[in-house]
Every structure is written in C-alpha cells, then in structure tokens.
C-alpha cells in the first residue's frame, strides 16, 4: 500500500521527518544577520570551519545544519546567480529569484521526497541595495518555506531559538548602527540562540520567555568563546569595486569581544 493512500500515515511520516531534522540541527551554531550603517553584517561562532559565504556581488549566505547539505544549497545559489549575471547583467541577479525559483523549490522537493534524506539545514541569505531594499534577508527553512525580513534576521536550530534571538534584535535601528554596535547586538542574539539550542527539553513559550529573561547573554558568550571563534562577514556598501562581500579581520572583531575576555 502506498503511503499517499493513507493520509494519517503521510502526516505521521512528515511529522517524524520534522522531528528528525530539528533534532539533527538544533545543537548547531546559530547565525545572525543584522544591518549596520554601511550594509549588513553576518555573524556566527564556530571552530574554524567556514559558515558564511559569498554568493554574488551583493548577496551572502549563512546556514545552520549539515555541512554537505549547506554546500549543495550554496552551490545551487552560486550557479543560479552567475548564470543570470552572465546572461543578463549583474543588476538582474536578485536574492528574491534565488530564493523563489532556486533554493525554495529545491529544498521543498528534498523535504517531500520521503525515501531520500532531506536537506538538514536552515539557511539565511542577505542582500544589500537590491530591488527590494537596502538590507534584505531571506531565511529558507528545511522544508523549503521561506520568509523575508528587513533589517535583521536569524536562523537557529529550532523555531524557539529564532524567537528568542529575534527579541534581542527587535527595535535595532539598523540604518545607524556602527559596525561594532552591530557586532555586539548580533553576538548577544547568537548567545540566546545557542542557549535555547543546548537545552535538554524545550519548554512551552511562556516558560521559555520567563527562563530567557533570567539568562545573561554575556555569560553564555564568555563560556562559548573559550572553545569557539567568531566568524563575521559584511556586505559593505563602501567596498570599492562590484563585489561587496568582505570577511572581517580579527582586529575589527576584537573591540566587540574585549568585554568577554577578561581573564
């Protein structure tokens, strides 16, 4: 008997698939994107393996999840962007089309194909000065659902982590933040996402909010920075030339970290 003949079993399979994926990626290192006065900043912490990538002149990608699945999505986005950029023009490459026609459908197809392994990844893409605005973010979930946001965005391992992280960023004026201010707030958001990701059991929303209020992001960062390094890149409007992507140097990151490295 086919699974599709049995609606209940279909729903069960999909539900199991969600649990499986979230279980696989929830302990990963979240990614935070936040606008600042000269573009957008992407931040994460890791053990030296690159998690933030250049896609095109004004587009960057970051992700949480299985590195090979992230790599597949990254390459798909790269191929699409460069084919359009060559055949049409650099200005015709937009994050919207990469997400709508490229990543979204590909990830959805992977998620629906229940005899194959799904994409174990959640992706965050950023674009500066595109057709949709100055600081645009898209997140593509492991089931292919995508969401647009202006100014800032996050991907953690599970939706609860996203909510807690977004609360840190709410109210940021991303047009006026300096680079160091943006780094500071992004690191705090990351810390809260990390805290949720490492919880044994995720409580109900009200309980999670109550617990989050007692957590100091600084303490989480102090602990995590003992084992992990900060990785940060910008899409920087003032970069000379067409490509605006630039990894931050350790000298640029250092001012935001000094408070956490007292000993």
């Amino acid at each position: 008997m086919m699974l599709s003949d049995e609606p209940y079993r279909w729903a069960e399979v999909i539900s199991n698939r969600r649990d499986y994926i979230e279980d696989q990626i929830r302990a990963g290192s979240p990614v935070v994107g936040v606008g600042y006065e000269d573009g957008v900043l992407l931040v994460t912490l890791g053990r030296g393996q690159q998690k933030l990538f250049e896609i095109y002149d004004r587009i960057a990608l970051a992700a949480i999840g299985h590195s090979t699945d992230i790599e597949k999505m990254r390459q798909g986005a790269l191929d699409m962007a460069h084919t359009i950029g060559f055949g049409y023009s650099e200005d015709d490459v937009t994050l919207r089309q990469i997400v709508y026609f490229g990543l979204g459908p590909a990830v959805k197809a992977g998620f629906d194909d229940i005899v194959r392994s799904p994409f174990l990844a959640r992706v965050l893409l950023a674009e500066i000065d595109g057709h949709e605005g100055a600081q645009i973010f898209y997140t593509v979930d492991y089931d292919g659902a995508f969401f647009r946001s202006d100014g800032f965005a996050v991907v953690g391992g599970i939706p609860e982590a996203d909510q807690v992280m977004m609360r840190v960023l709410d109210g940021c004026n991303t047009q006026t933040l300096s680079l160091t201010e943006a780094l500071n707030v992004a690191l705090k958001a990351w810390a809260m996402g990390r805290w949720v990701g490492l919880m044994e059991n995720i409580p109900e929303k009200e309980e999670l909010d109550r617990l989050a209020a007692d957590i100091k992001a600084e303490d989480v960062l102090k602990r995590e920075l003992q084992n992990l390094d900060v990785e940060a890149v910008v899409l920087q409007r003032s970069c000379v030339g067409k490509p605006k992507y630039r990894p931050l140097t350790s000298d640029e990151i250092a001012p935001a970290l000094s408070v956490y490295q007292t000993d």
Binding site: Q50, F53, E54, I55, Y56, K72, Q75, G76, L78, D79, M80, H82, T83, G85, F86, G87, G102, A106, V240, G241, P243
Partner: protein, 270 residues
Amino acid sequence: MMNSGLDFVDLLRQTGYRFPTNSMAVSHPSTGQALPFHPTEGTTILAMRYRDGVLVAGDRRATAGNMVLYDRADKVINLDAYSVMAISGSPAIAFEIARILEHSFQYYRRRQLQEMSLSAKLRRLSMLIKDNLPMAMQGIGAVIPIFATFDRAEGCGKIYFYDALGAQFESTDFTTTGSGSPSIRGTMYYLNRWGGQRFADLDRDAAVGLSLRLLDTASEYDSATGRYEKAADIFPSVKTITASGLEEIKTEQLRQLYGQYVNGEEDVAS
C-alpha cells in the same frame, strides 16, 4: 540545479551557451563564398612594468575597414581587482572573452573559497583564445590580448601577451600589440635600453606620460589608432595595477600629464 563541474565555462555550456565558432561564418548561402565584410577592430595597446607595478594603456578608436566607427572604445577591460585584459582585434569577441573571464574568476573564488591562481587565470584566457580559432582563421574575429596583473605572491607587476592561437608569452619589460604597435615597438625598446631611465625605474607620472607619448606616436603613423580628441575631450585609457590594486587614471590627471609630456606645457587647454 547542481553543476557537477568546477568551471564557469562548463556551467555556461550546461545552460545552453555556445561560444562563437565557425558556425558564424559569413558566407553566401548557396556558393559558400565569403561575403565582403569589414569587422570592427581596435588598435594600439601597450603595457609596461614601472616602479610600482604595471601600467596598461590603449587608444579609444574602433574602426571597420577605413571607417572610424567609434572614438570612445575602452580597450583596457577590468577582470578583477588586480588584473586587466587589454584588447586589439575584434572587440565583439574580446568583450565576450573578458566577460566570461570576469565571471570565471569570480565564480571560482566564490565556489572554491580561494582566489584563482595566476597560472590558472592565464590558462583560462589561453583556452578561450584557442576556442576562438575558427573565427580568427576567417580573419573576422581574431583577438590578441595583453593580460596584465599584479602578482601578490611575488610582489611585482606581470605582463603576458598572446598570439591568435592562444600561446602565452611573458614579457619582462613591456609589450605592445595592435595595428599601431609596429610604429612604437622599436621606440619602446630604444627608450627602455638607452633612454636614460629604464621603464622599471619610472615613477607613475613619468610612466603615464610616456604611455601618452607612445600612443600619440602610434596615431601619427597608424590611421586606425586614435589620439587625444580635442573636440570631444577624450583621452586614451590608462590604468595601473599595484600592490593596492587596480587604478584608472582620471581624466583630470591625464589632462595635466598630457599637457606636460605630450604638448610640453604645464597644462593642456581644455
């Protein structure tokens, strides 16, 4: 949506792109004889190693037969932050090659997470020129570029030139190609050897001034090479590549240096 290969040209082929080949031959449909056709061509370009790196300059004229087609052609094309391709020959194919290369270098850097090596960049250009052989053989699409870059590993500027088959040669001091180049090749050799100061010791202003003089000399003897267009105020294009990257010499600076070196006065009237 996945590309199994690593190379941008492979990706283009997968998406149906075809590089110009002899299928573009311009011949009579029944007799197969070549039709009279004057391709657009560009003219004098030169490159020299000077004190800070490498300088590349080109006139701005494009011609078709004995007709001047355009006086604002930019034949020194940026490929990335440290390399340019300067073209003589057919601009249509040359611009296509430059566009493919620019995307290839970017695609490689983004995909491989490292800069394409200098030797690989040279190889990619060589392959594209070789692919263009059928067009070159028909005499309508030959591209003979100069590739100039700053080798950050060795800390010096480098100049390469090619023949129509894609053979690549490195020049130690200078090179020039295009229809006006015979008029100045000997001059460049003479100046570099006995001119009192080798090109490699010139500062930037002197190198720019010299390149303007040389292009003016080429235009004196080659009708296909343009010179400073007073009516439209168009100067040759001159670019430098140094440790800090590619820089285009601005019109105001060219005006001042043109006055100083070509007209022998402090400032050229604008």
